[in-house]
Every structure is written in C-alpha cells, then in structure tokens.
Symmetry: C2
C-alpha cells in the first residue's frame, strides 16, 4: 500500500500536477483518499522525503521540493503519453494528412533539398474531449509516408513511429505567444486574436538528422510549461532575441 | 586572433543568437568580418568542431550542433546580463517601487505569514531603447527593503542583490501566453489584447527559501524562449495542465 501511495504522488509530481512549492496532500487527506491507516501513508511520505522529492516533516506540512527526475523525454514529445500520465484521456481529430513539396521554411528547418516532398499533418488535440492544442507537424518524407498506413485518429503517432524504428532523441523547442488565427479560433473555441502559447519544435534522430518540425498552439488557460533550473543543473533554457 | 573568433562564436551560440541547426557564418564571411586570413578562421572553426559545438567540415557548411554549455543560470535570471551578453544595451524605466502587505497569492507563492509586508517593483525593460518586457516583481521584505537604497534605473537589481549576499540559486519558471492589458499595451507599445509571452518565476535561496516572485511579460516578436532536451539530458521541461 505505501508503495502505491508513493508511486501515485511521484506520478503527480512528475506530471506537473503537483509543482515545486505546492503542498503535498496531508496525512489525513491521503488516509481518506486511499482508505488507508496512518502507517502506510507515513511510510510513503518518508520514502518521498528520503528521495528529496518532498520536504516538511517534524510538524511542518510536506511540500514538493523538486521535480521527479523530470518528465521523461518521450512524454514531452508525445501529447498522448503526457495526458495519459496525468490520468486523463487524450484525444485527437485529424483534419488533414498531406504529401506536398516542402516550402522554403521547411527546407531550412529540416535541412532538405529544394522541392523535396514532406508529409504534413493538422490535428486538434483534446484532453478529456476538450480542445487543448492544435498541431501542425511536418515530417520528412521517409518517416511521414508511414502515416498514410496509420489511422492518425487512433492515438499516438510518436508511439507508431517508434514501433517502426523511427526514434527521436533530441529536440529543440522555441516557445512564444501568438494571436489565434481563424483556424485556431474555430478549432480551439476561442475568439480570433486571443493569445495562444506556441511551441515550435524540431526533433532529430540520434544521428542528428531532423525528422519532424511542429508548430503546436496551446490554449494557455489549459496548458502552460514549467521549467526548473539551478546554478547546479545548468538547464538549457534560453531567451532568444529577434533583432528587428 | 583564432581565439577571439572562437570566443565570439561561442558567445553567439551561448546567447541564442545562433541556435542549434543554424548555419555558422562561412569562412569568407568570417574572414571579412574579422579582416583575417583563412588560417585563424579555420583554426577557430576547428576548435569549435572539436568542442562539439558545430558540425560540418569536409565540404559541408558548418552548422550549430549543440548549445554552448547553456546560458549561465545568472544570465537567465538577469535581463541586464542577458542583453549585455548579446552585445546589445539593456535599459529600464522604473515605474513603481512599493512596500505593502502581501496579497494572498504572494503569501502562497513566497510562503509568507498573512499580512507580512513585501516590496513590489514595476519596471519596463528595454533592449537598445526598445520596449521588450514588463516585469512585476515581488521580493520578500528582508531582501526587497534594500531596493529603497538603490537606483532601480541604474542597472541590474540581480547584481545589486548578489553584492549584498542575497543569492538566488534555484528558479522555477511557468510559461504561458496572456492578452496585453492596458498597462502592458501602453508601456510595450502594442494594442490592448495582443498576445504576450509571460514567464512567472519564483527564485529561491540555496536553503530553499523563496526570495522573489516575478510576472514578466515579453513582446513575442522580440523575445522567445528556447529549450533543448534529449533522452540523455532529461531536462526538467514540463507541460502543466490546469484542470478546469
């Protein structure tokens, strides 16, 4: 029992549901939630305290001290895996899968030859049936062509590509804000012009070859990003300046 | 000379001016920029290649392969240090420094007692005299009171606090998008309602005690954030879901 309680709290920290500085549910709340006695609840909290994930104890209410080893890389790339880890239901509505010659910005982003074909996907992503994000993803042709044999409404494309041996091991994320255009507004159910959180991402293979470029737009009232860094960990979070 | 060229490119990678996947200036461009011969330019590129910062060579154009050891933690906290590292001029216009009782959200964010005083700052930040960001920062009183003896228009508050021994060693950043309110719009020179990139940050001492909480709003056409992660590095970049 104490292991199940500890695992659940670890998951909630790992998913971001409980953030650093948040209070951990009290002993009595955990007892009620798990129909458990004080013994296993205290043991679970002691385990997490020993791992350094939570602080408190000796009269102080327990509080999240640091992130669980951080969200696994896969679950950051895969919306489906992330939503499942939250204990919610991921969903998707595919609006378009198309093969077409790469535009100049995709030639640059994916290091292609002029006119090389790419596979482009437009999908609305849902959390518990509520629109949360729109993804506009471009795959290099050798990878993307496998999507024509796949039902993009059936689940995680990332998991599908992995099963075919297409591993993405490095990603670069650029994060900013944009005004919702008409497509965004209609699909996400927000007014045209309202602020969206945008993540543009390039993911590459272990050999350093770009595989996908995506423009993902989130409803900021539903999803935000958190990053923790310190003088020790040297996180690669950077501001980027667009000289104008 | 080759050391100066390498250092300059390292700085440009470190500041985010050159991002992963970007082309490094060609040998001829570098020769022209530095009025240098091919020798030192090639030596500089070879040094960076040996460090793994750039790829290419043997006929392929050099390209940024990974971030310089990443932006130092300090320069992410300090807007002034970051802008200076870009080779631009940071600026600020302080609109308010006030001492007042903490509101409930600051009591929660900074782990204060009800009614404890805090010091709050409203500053417009500039890059080369152009408005780029508005910061609304709340300091715990023991740290913030030192700002009344400091000219907040003279430069980096972070450097000032460091010189007084107030070190911030851990930070948690939550990133989303918001519509510009009237204050934002007037100071940043954008229409009311236009999208801004928001970073809310809590920075803590090495002992884990919160020191400041800030709500920083950036013009997204001028500043964005980039993050690089991989299966190896396990960056603590997380999505956060606001259940509604």
């Amino acid at each position: 029992m104490h292991e199940r309680i500890a695992t659940d709290i670890r998951r909630r920290i790992g998913s971001g549901e409980l953030a650093v500085g948040d209070a951990v549910p009290s002993e009595s709340q955990l007892c009620a939630q798990w129909s458990a006695s004080r013994g296993p609840v205290r043991q679970a909290l002691a385990t997490l305290r020993a791992e350094g994930l939570i602080g408190g104890g000796r009269g102080k209410p327990p509080m999240v001290r640091r992130q669980a080893l951080s969200q696994p890389f896969e679950s950051f790339l895969s919306f489906s895996a992330w939503v499942s880890a939250l204990g919610q239901t991921p969903g998707q509505r595919t609006l378009e899968v198309a093969r077409r010659p790469a535009t100049q910005d995709m030639v640059d982003a994916l290091h292609l030859e002029d006119g090389e074909p790419v596979v482009q996907l437009l999908r609305l992503r849902l959390i518990d049936d509520k629109p949360a994000m729109i993804e506009r993803t471009t795959f290099v042709d050798s990878v993307g062509r496998s999507l024509f044999d796949f039902d993009c409404d059936s689940g995680s494309i990332y998991a599908h590509l992995q099963s075919l041996g297409h591993d993405m091991t490095v990603a670069r994320h650029q994060i900013d804000a944009v005004a919702a255009d008409e497509t965004d507004a209609e699909l996400l159910g927000v007014p045209v012009g309202s602020p969206l959180l945008r993540e543009r991402r390039r993911a590459s293979s272990v050999a350093g070859e770009p595989i996908e470029y995506s423009d993902d737009r989130y409803r900021p009232d539903i999803v935000s990003f958190t990053i923790e860094n310190s003088q020790q960990t040297n996180t690669s979070l950077m501001r980027r300046w667009a000289a104008s």
